[in-house]
Symmetry: C2
Subunit: 421 residues, 2 copies
């Protein structure tokens, strides 16, 4: 039998190091004599369904290497959930046709918890159909919410960016507070889990340093307590820095960003929890404020990626190749923290059936008693993940990124109509 | 006569390299045998009025050197405008008392256009009073809006940060556009001049690269034209990145951020021009969008400062010392671009009377005909300013910053009551 090919797909929100994972897959795959070509689905699973498949063998080793310092998802990603195979197998049958048509023996799906569920379903379906394929889920998410893995590739870099930005903006606010802004609010990602918000706590190198308050999705918002702490902080330090998770919510689970108010055009007011918090503080205490919403900047800030994160992102990609060469199927590589004094880690694995569709939130023991900060044990967990500065090369003052050809394979199948959703 | 002392003060919004200017003053001043002590006013001119004066001789050379990689204003800054001396001289007389009490022979004021006006008035007043003092204005502003100087220290670093962030976020959006966000809007600083917004244009390394639209304060907002260009861009490239100056305004000069709408609490809706633009695009075209407001993050992002900017910021500080040693008074050091093929610069000077209270906006020739981009001549002007990556040292994954004692001098005068404003 001819060497079978890999199909690699990126899924969901991208990160500043997901392309490093792609580089891990591609570089390890190119070295193996038992692996055929490495294909990448254009725009994630959509490309697999539409038979839009990139043949990466046209890319030079040099450009592949540049993926290690290119943010975003270089083959395109998507937010697309397959139907449940227990009710409708049409999409799974299509994937099978595509796998057969292009001699796919290895399917790698690089995404978060939802994606691990998808790849698990594909593994089960192809097994039931008797089609020999090895399916590997590869973890990726800035939210750090995948269980079993000690941490998730993509998170360490956003954590580093947010910790640094909090420290830097904190120094700015501190120097202006006497006559100007007294309260600064930084909104960060994390709709369900507060890991990114928690990472801002690493900016606090000594007592009194920002951030003075962190608002987690895991802790119900308490306006009175927040106001009281902001007032006390401004009294003591002259200013106050808050870091707010986009997922901050009240005791009934309602997002603070969802105000229900309408603008002049009658449209629902746009999200942004930072301006809401600013408003609450200003109307209660009258302090002058500024707010920032870093949005995509945080998850694409490859210019200050964590070296640890980069290495782990690369490793989970490389491991997917290692795993299939060892005959593994329906597993996901995980980062395992070793029990050494100095931080060290190794790659382990978990069955996809275990990891699918589960979310890892912040444990209560990582949040201080008052609900506004992180504990020493949380810092101990987080700190190793932001170690090292993985600077990209620069040309003309700007970071150099990969420039792929992304040449598509010739289609062999008829077109596929995506189900209406 | 005993060697006379320097009083250095930081004014207005801080930058990621204003402390490098302070380092330039301090390191050059320490080397001179003709300069006494170097004092710094706490919180800018307020500290001078309140006789809250920091004696920097308690700081080690090592900590002073660390100022080169510490964002914010390490002695504190303020937004405070002195009264007009033609109507009320009380504050000027107070400053004179403080200068006399602490043997100040050199006054350095590090700020933007307003501050150059202030130091000019102080120079005139002390001259009229016959008090021998040399007053030097030192340029600083992220907005790049001071005339006579080719560019302004502080700007190159925010320009670099915005150009990089635009490129990075652009790669993120491009990879998700098929099923998710199609329009991304980044709001940047610059209330009156569009220099920072223009710098985003450096991300455009080849045809079709983001940013696809820039909204400048200098060009009246035209909704119809914007919508039409956004639609065409999404059609052609699948996504669209806009960079919007906070000062974007309509043909009547009304800021777009000033919507006049009220929220559920009856408060005026908070600014943020990015969400306004998002709303306009979404209601006209229905595209899914994301927006970011980088706010203080952009002007404190010392982690990716421009090496050129850092060197220039240091130089204008050092030049203040050089100037007074040469007997100069009522001048400001400027950056002069040399007529060399490869970019090079030198320090020159301009009279404060010329520079005070003037604003340098983007020339029309730097903006493309359609009003949404920058021209080649603009890129040629901007590009040298973002060259080089001036990385700070890191410890434990976080940038190292200076930790000054900021020890205050013993007061010699009675208290001063600030005028009510």
């Amino acid at each position: 039998m001819k060497n079978r090919n890999v199909l690699y797909a990126q899924s969901g929100g991208v990160t500043s190091v997901i392309n490093a994972t792609a580089a891990g897959v591609l570089e390890a795959g190119r070295k193996s004599k038992r692996i055929g070509k490495i294909f990448a689905a254009k725009n994630g699973i959509l490309g697999a369904l539409n038979e839009e498949i990139i043949d990466t063998s046209f890319e030079s080793d040099k450009e592949i290497s540049r993926l290690k310092h290119t943010p975003g998802g270089v083959f395109g990603s998507c937010r697309y959930k397959l139907q449940d195979p227990s009710s409708n197998q049409r999409e799974y049958k299509r994937l099978l046709d595509v796998f057969v048509a292009h001699n796919i023996g290895y399917f790698f799906y690089n995404g978060g918890g939802d994606s691990q569920d998808t790849v698990n379903k594909i593994a089960n379906f192809t097994k039931d159909m008797g089609f020999p394929i090895q399916c590997i889920g590869i973890p990726k998410t800035v939210d750090n919410d995948i269980p079993f893995t000690d941490n998730c590739p993509g998170f360490g870099s956003v954590a580093k960016y947010i910790a640094i930005s909090t420290k830097e903006a904190g120094l700015d606010v501190a120097s202006m507070a006497e006559t100007s802004t007294k309260v600064f609010i930084l909104e960060v990602m994390g709709r369900h889990a507060g890991w990114i918000a928690a990472a801002a706590g690493l900016a606090q190198e000594k007592e009194g340093d920002p951030p003075h308050l962190i608002l987690f999705p895991e802790i119900a918002f308490n306006k009175k307590k927040m106001i009281s702490k902001v007032r006390a902080t401004v009294k003591k330090h002259g200013y106050c820095v808050l870091v707010v998770s986009e997922g901050a919510r009240d005791s009934k689970g309602k997002f603070l960003a969802d105000t229900g108010t309408k603008d002049a055009f009658g449209h629902k007011q746009l999200g942004g929890v930072a301006p809401q918090i600013a408003l609450i503080i200003n109307s209660s205490l009258g302090y002058k404020y500024h707010w920032a919403v870093s949005d995509y900047l945080q998850r694409s800030a490859r210019h200050i990626a964590s070296q640890t994160d980069l290495e782990q992102a690369y490793s989970v990609g490389k491991s997917a190749i290692d795993f299939v060469l060892k005959g593994e199927n329906a597993v996901m590589p995980i980062i395992k923290r070793k029990k050494t004094k100095k931080y060290s880690w190794e790659i382990d694995k978990v069955a996809l059936s275990k990891v699918a569709n589960k979310e890892k939130k912040m444990p209560r023991s990582y949040i201080t008693k008052d609900g506004f900060g992180i504990t020493e044990s949380c810092k101990k967990y987080l700190r190793p993940l932001i170690q090292g500065e993985a600077y990209p090369p620069y040309r003309n003052g700007m970071p150099v990124t990969a420039n792929l050809k992304n040449k598509l394979l010739k289609k062999k199948l008829k077109g596929f109509k995506l189900p209406k959703k």
